[in-house]
Amino acid sequence: MRVIVNQVTYDLPNQSVVSDALAIINAKPPYAVAVNLNFVPKSKHANFALNENDQIEVIAPVTGG
């Protein structure tokens, strides 16, 4: 199954979940996740099923104005 994480394409096994995508990019806390522009709370990372061509954003804190 092809998914896009932070604009990079990855192949994941079918029936992968958000936690699998986080593992493949070695995400380091703190972070937050959105799939196809919808927020996925931390409590759902282990169960939120991914689909072919899902766009996953993993974001981290930075400075801001």
């Binding site: 932070n6 604009q7 990019i25 995400a27 380091k28 703190p30 972070y31 937050a32 996740v33 959105a34 522009l37 919808n38 927020f39 709370p41 931390k42 954003e57 993993v58 974001i59 981290a60 804190p61 930075v62 400075t63 801001g64 104005g65």
Partner: protein, 272 residues
Amino acid sequence: MNAPLPTNLNKADTLVLYGESFASRLLLGTSRYPSPQVLENAVQASNPGMITVSLRRQGTSTTEAHSGFWDLLKKMAVPVLPNTAGCHSPQEAITTAQMAREVFETDWLKLELIGDDYTLQPDVLRLVQTAETLIKDGFKVLPYCTEDLILCQRLVDVGCQAVMPWAAPIGTGQGPLNPYAMKLLRDRLKVPLLVDAGLGLPSHACTVMEWGFDGVLLNTAVALADDPIVMAKAFAMAVDAGRAAYLSGAMKPQESAQASTPLVGTPFWHQS
């Protein structure tokens, strides 16, 4: 020993937003400083009520460069105000807000919805509805907006308990470009008003505080100064000075000269 003079400044005069009090009327951005150490020292020098923060994709050069920022935030222990900088649609802003709430563990939000990349002018036509959605979702929304009276009124109508009109486009440092509209806004709206963006000098901050604005939010004017630490302190002092002047009640300008020194008893003076 004489008793302290009675003055408006003796009263508790803290900035209150959504029922919460803040230590200072200066809100400070955390971007574009020469180094994290300079940022930390600037924050210490100015003691801001809140500092603004943001979110970017993990694993990019931006987040790699900010790998120590999270620890610095915890060390500085100043309330944080996440922004939605760079969002161009209501959905982007709403999702970014929800992600920020989880990462920073706060309901506070500086809502930025950009309508034009060249001027960074907010998308005023979609800002109100976006603010309303976020307020219904429990956010304490501080919307970055223009100085348009009706826009700001509509933001208040949907539940914004404070609004943040710009003085000039973000990062320009030009100071208030439309004093008439800003003073009118202050006169017409009773909610806290914080000037966000476009201030370049402490005198700009002092001026808008003298007009009765409740606080200022700035970043570039401090971060790009030759000495950001001293400039941060200068802005903090200017905000306090402007607030004190506003509370003190300024004199009315006069058309003609009026001697300060008493005329009666002036030596060598002869009535003609």
